[in-house]
Structures are given as C-alpha cells and as structure tokens.
Symmetry: C2
Subunit: 450 residues, 2 copies
C-alpha cells in the first residue's frame, strides 16, 4: 500500500506507432495507420479507460536532417498535435490533452487562442508542452538559415509564455454576461488590452476567445538544461524529464522544487514526471523476448541516425561496432544539451560501442527503460514515487497499440491495488486530475489584493 | 425539376450564434454556448443530415477596433476554426470542413501541415478558405504597427498558397510503403525537398505529413476585388462572393470563369458560391415577423459599429438617422475594397440613412438576403443557379441553431424535390461532393509528362 494518500500522476506519451525507433516494424504495431484517426481514437479511449491524467504528443517542424535514412527506415510523418488532440477531445470526456507547440516559430496570439479554444471545447482538458525548436532543419522551413542559439531560444520562450498568459487573462472569468434583454453580451471593463511590448513580441490584445475554463491550460515543459530548469521553475506545472538512475532523478527533483519559492510558488505547484519506457511481460522471460525482438528490428542506418540526432553530432562516418569518437565539448552543442550529456555519460560509464548505444537508447531515447512483470514495473515506479524522485510518470509505450494495452491492462491494476493510482476520475478538468490550482487572472481584483 | 442533372453545391456558413449582428439576442439563439462543443456538434450533425457539401467558419485575429461597443453589444469571441473543425471531424463522417486561415500572419509550413493533418484525420474532408488580414487591430497583435497594404497582402497570399501546395506535394501519393519485413517505411526518391526561395518565404521542406488524401485540401476564396478575382482564377476551387442582384452575380460569374483558361483551368474547376442569408417562414407573414424581430434587436451602437467596420470608415460621429457622409475614394480604402463599393452602391441607390443601412446589412453583411416560404426561397436559389449566376450557395443562417434547422427541414426538401440538390452523399471526400478533380502532384511523373 501507498505510504500516504498521495497518488501518482500518469501521462500516456505517444509516439506513433511507438517510442521504439523500430516500433513500426513490430508485427503488432499499427504502422499503416499513423495518419488515421481510428488509431488515435482507440489509443485515447484506452488511455481514458486506464484513468491516465493525460495523453501527450511530442512534435517537430521538420524531418530530422541528421537522420539521412530517416525517411526510408523510420516514421517521419506525424499529424499536427493540436489538430489531433482537438479531434480526440470530441471522443473523450475526462482525459487531459497535452500538445507540444514550439515558441521558436510561432506567434503568441495564435498559440494562446488555439489552446484557449481547445480548453473551452474540451471542457478544461488542454495542456501546452512548451518547447523551443533546436534543429537546423526546422529553421530552414521558416525563412531562416540557421536555428536560434540556445540562450536566445529560451529568452524568446520565456517572453512567449508571458504573452500567452496575459492573453489568456485578457477576459476576466466573469466578463461574459449574455443579458439578451439588455443587449449586453459582455462587460467591457472586464476585458483588457494586454499592451505587451517586449524584446521579441509586441501584442496589443485582448484575445478573441474568453478566459480558458482552467484559467490557464496546464503548462508542461521538458528541457532539463540550466535555462530549461529555470524556465520550468518559473512557469511549468508539469515537467517531463529523462533520468536513468534514482539518484539523478532525486537530485533533479530537489533542485527544481527548491527553485520554486524564488518565483512565489509552492512544492505542489509543479509535478515532476520523468519519462518511462516500459516493456511489460506476463513473465520476465516474455519481457526479455519483447525487448530482444525490438532490438533486432532496428535498421543499422536508422540506429546510427537516431543516435546522431539525439547528441546533435553526425556518427555516420564512424565504425558502428567501435566506440564513440571524441565528441565536442557540451558548450559547442546547440541542440538538446541535457540529452547530449546524458548519452555521453551512459557511453562512458558502460563502455558501449555505437551499435550497443543505439540499441540501448532506441526505445527510451535517454529515458528510463523498465522491463519485467507488472509487479516488477509497479515496484520500480513506486520506489521513485515514494522517494522524492517523481510525482508521477510519462509512460512511453514501445509500440502501439499493444504497448499501451499491456500497461493499461496489467500495470495500472497493480498500481491501483497498491493505492498508488486512481480507480476513477474525481474531477473533470486536467487541473482537477493533477491537483493543480486554477490560476487567478492577473487582471482580477482578488489577484491585485492578494 | 432541374433543367439538367447538374445539382447545386451548398455550404453551411456559420457565424455563432448566427450571422445577424443581433442573433445572440434572439430568444431561440444559443448565445450561452458560443464556446461549447455541444452546440457545434449539433450544428455539424444537422448540416450533415441536410447533405450540405461543407460547413464553413470565417475568422479574424482581433476584436474589431472599428466597433467600439463590440465587446458589450456583440459576440466577439470565437474558437479557432481549425481546432473547431478538427473536433467536428471526429463526430461527422461525410461533410466537408472549411476553415478560414489568413496568409498574412501565418507561416506556410504550419498551414500546410495543419490542413494536411485535418485532411488525413477526416478522411479527405478539409478545405482552406484563403484570406488576407485587413484590419489594423490584427496587425497590432502580431508585432506590427499597421497592417500590410492591400496589394502586398495579395502578393504574399499568392506566394503563400504556392508554397503550401508545394509542401502538400512533397510526398508523392505512393511514397509510403510500410514494408515491415524489409524495414522500409517510405521510398525516399518519392519524398522531395521543395526548396522554395521567394520574396516572402524561404522553405526547404519536405513536409512531415504525407500527401493529403484529397491531393490538396479544397482551396476556397472570398475576395472579389480585382486582385482577389485574379488570385481566385489562378488558385481557388470555390469562390465565396457577395452579390445583391442576379445581374451583378452573372457579371462576376462570367468574369471569373472567363479568366480560368488563362491559368490552364476549365469551367468546372471553380465553383462560384455566393452567400445567401435566408429568413425562412412557413408563411410570408412568419418570415416578415422573423425579419422584423431581428431588426428590432440591433443595439444602435452595434449597428453603427458594424457598418463602420464593413466600409472601413468610422461613422460614429454622424447622426444615425441622417444620410451617409461623403466617403473617401475607394483607392484610399485599405480594407475590404469590394465590400466598401457594394455598400456605398446600396446606400446611393436606395437613399438610406445610416440606421436604415445598418438594419439592411446587419444580417447578410452585404450578401443577398432572401426571405419567404421554402418554395419562394427555392425559387430564388433556382433562378440564380440555372442562369449562370451561381454553382451553389453558402447559406448564412440568421441565428443558430434555429436558422439552420429551418433551412434543413424546410428548404432542402424543396430543393431535393426539384432535383436541384442531392438526397444522399455519393462519395466520401469534399472533392467528391463538389465534383472537383483530385490534383496531380507537381512532383509526379504523370504530371511532368502531361
């Protein structure tokens, strides 16, 4: 049983048709359906049946240029996550809907409005995974020669989130009246221009959608670099991280939670939810077989390409069964800095060849891989959850829909039996599920007094 | 009976809760539900039951700054149309889904991807209403001091559409293979960089969504200015126009259809669908009463504001029961030029006061208002349809959901009885409904040979 009444939060983080780079080759994966709604509907319904807090889609604005053989050997098409989650909102009623949208090649007005719209239409279930775009191939799709430097991306991101929140607040909660008789639809004194004038954006407002049902859709973040942690401590409500060991996870947990007070926030205002790549078997043997099959299915070029992409360094010239070459210093990496360091550490620690390293990370991509029976997997999740390493987890099924079915049908009942996870939704909004406060509007009277 | 087998195309063009500026005050309008999904679901299901070709949402990126009392007296909130239509796609199976997205404050990569995603997820039902943003208030939400001049907006729009089509073509129709055994997901020689390098955009591509089910989502346009007509003749497949008289409509029809051959297109490649604002009564008397009620409900400030906005000129300083003041020459108008001319012509022709003019246009906003019994309304639609004034109509219900119900339950059966409208969908995609060819990819071999 759980030591307290505290229960873990669970996100279903979907890459389609699975997180493993060879997932699409798995005999049971829905590789033909990666752009078909019926697959997404089935996944969302299954995740909701499992009482997940939310489903979660990553995103990117280019086919990865580091992955020369990506088009041939991997799945490089993926529907726009906001379009996808809007469609999913119509066939679900409780589960949270988290879309990744970059602050680098978008405009705050559009982003504020799309999430506010999704939040209204879904009955308060929207969340925004705030990311910056770090691939050169993305820059080339948006009128630039090269992508923004890491520091500038985070400066822009911080201002971007600030403008979006102002726009969400531009209609006070009670601004809409609908007095048909008096002919008054809204109270103009409760609708505000935001008049933002910053280094990156000039936005007058107000938004043309009223304040979201949740006040603000939930803010999710993923970066674990220093700039990323600082931004998360200031603005994030869910943080999605990648850690291999409980010690690393505990350090991170303590670090980011410790920074909250600096921004006037408390311990429970931010949920730390590391990624977990589960390989579930009814027996240990079955789990081992599942893992072995996935490793075998990785096309060599796709493996090298994936690894090159994750460390922002081209490994294709080097022998695949040899060690990693000398890599540049982290300060020279203008990509995912934390991911670079994490993979370099694994390679050094375990003395892996390029092939062994890509096989090692081809599923979880730097996140924690846990393998075993439902009891073993629940044990590992419980250990992290009860020892200040995590408030919950983002579950990354290796292949779909089978990998999700395994987790929902086998692991979740085990977590529920231990009192570690809900058996029914207690509220309607994603904030209800996550136990997050509804933010006051920056324009509301209570806020100015408080 | 219809003179030929040709049947009219019908779009259900929704402003929520109705096109009439006072619609929200109507006792039967769903004014409380303007951001609630259940209203949109009901409307979409009703339109699909009526066998409409498509539903259609306008859009804008600001609260109209010409309309000082807009927030108080009118409905100024509206969900993002792509989010809305994505949600609607999940609860409908046949009806086309037309979203307005501006080329002025967006990026081609995002727009191409969102429509391609909607087209895949909806089974080939997406359409893009291409507009330019002409309000100053919109510029102020996107880092600018004033909006782009009319000519520049159209130059940008033309290049924008060009880039979007290239991105839609960047994956050939048969690029995706999904050969699990050989480990080949796609054929790289059938996936193309677009390498667009123009005055407005530099976009490398390819898109990270494969070619839309319809080849290209249907391209809709609304402008009737000279630049608008030229762009429509080059790229539009549906044109949405505003005409008061059959003569004007016939002239326009002839003009735009006549320009098609210049761009290598034929007569049926572009469907002309003027807007129609129907007030349906079981008797003439009932229709008159419905019209009178709507006129009475217009708050004076909202009426003056709406008119000012439509002609891009502030009328608030002038006596509401006096004539229109001397207006600037059309060349000085940097807004909807064709709308300006149309309203000026009505005021001159019918010698209307400001109040009479706003009452006159408060519903249809310059589109054709038709009022009467189902038989009378069908007569008028038939007259335009059979005399080269229209290939179909965009129906603009005065208030919702009642105005749509009237049309579906009373007018459509009358059109069906006359053989003028389908009684069942014959295909699955919006192109099927509209009788539009599926475009070949610019990268496909057939295309280069042909």
């Amino acid at each position: 049983m759980s030591k307290s009444n505290r229960q873990m939060k669970l996100g279903a983080f979907f890459m389609i048709p699975g997180h493993h780079v060879a997932a699409w080759r798995h005999p049971e994966s829905a590789a033909e359906d990666v752009q078909q709604f019926h697959l997404y509907k089935r996944l969302a319904e299954q995740a909701e049946k499992g009482k997940f807090d939310m489903i979660f889609f990553a995103d990117g604005y280019a086919i990865n240029d580091k992955l020369q053989s990506a088009i041939e050997h991997t799945v490089t098409v993926r529907p726009d996550p906001l379009i996808l989650l809007a469609a999913i909102s119509a066939v679900t009623t409780k589960i949270g809907l988290t879309a990744t949208v970059s602050t680098t090649y978008n405009e705050p007005f559009h982003v504020a409005r799309k999430f506010a719209s999704l939040d209204h239409l879904s009955g308060g279930r929207a969340a925004w995974n705030v990311v910056t775009s770090g691939q050169n191939a993305e820059a080339l799709n948006f009128n630039r020669n090269e992508h923004l430097k890491h520091g500038l991306r985070y400066e822009r991101a911080e201002e971007f989130v600030d403008v979006v929140k102002k726009l969400w607040d531009s209609w006070e909660d009670d601004a809409i009246i609908v007095d048909k008789k008096a002919g008054r639809f809204a109270e103009p004194s409760k609708v505000h221009e935001v008049n933002h004038n910053g280094d990156w954006f000039t936005v007058k407002g107000p938004l043309n959608v009223s304040r979201p049902l949740q006040g603000h859709p939930v803010i999710v973040q993923a970066g674990s670099s220093e700039a990323g942690i600082e931004l998360a401590a200031k603005t994030a409500e869910v943080i999605f991280t990648a850690w291999q060991t409980i010690e690393e996870a505990q350090n991170f947990y303590k670090n980011v939670k410790g920074k909250l007070s600096k921004y006037g926030r408390s311990h429970d205002d931010l949920k730390v939810m590391p990624g977990v790549f589960p390989i579930v078997g009814k027996t240990e043997e079955e789990a081992n077989e599942k893992q072995a099959l996935l490793k075998e299915l990785i096309p060599e070029k796709a493996g090298v390409g994936l690894l090159s992409s994750l460390i922002s360094y081209d490994l294709s010239p080097y022998p695949v069964d040899g060690p990693l070459p000398d890599l540049p210093h982290i300060s020279e990496i203008n990509g995912g800095k934390s991911r670079f360091q994490l993979l370099k550490d694994i390679a050094d620690r375990e003395q892996l060849t390029i092939r062994q390293l890509y096989q090692h990370i081809a599923g979880a991509r730097g996140h924690r891989e846990i393998k075993g029976t439902p009891v073993q997997i629940a044990d590992q999740l419980q250990e992290w959850f009860e020892n200040e390493a995590a408030d919950g987890f983002n579950i990354m099924p290796p292949y779909l829909p089978g990998g999700l079915d395994d987790f929902v049908e086998q692991v979740i009942p085990e977590l529920q039996k231990r009192g570690l996870f809900r058996t029914e939704y207690n509220g309607n909004t994603l904030r209800d599920h996550l136990g997050l406060k509804r933010p006051l509007s920056s324009f509301s009277k209570e806020h100015s007094i408080g």
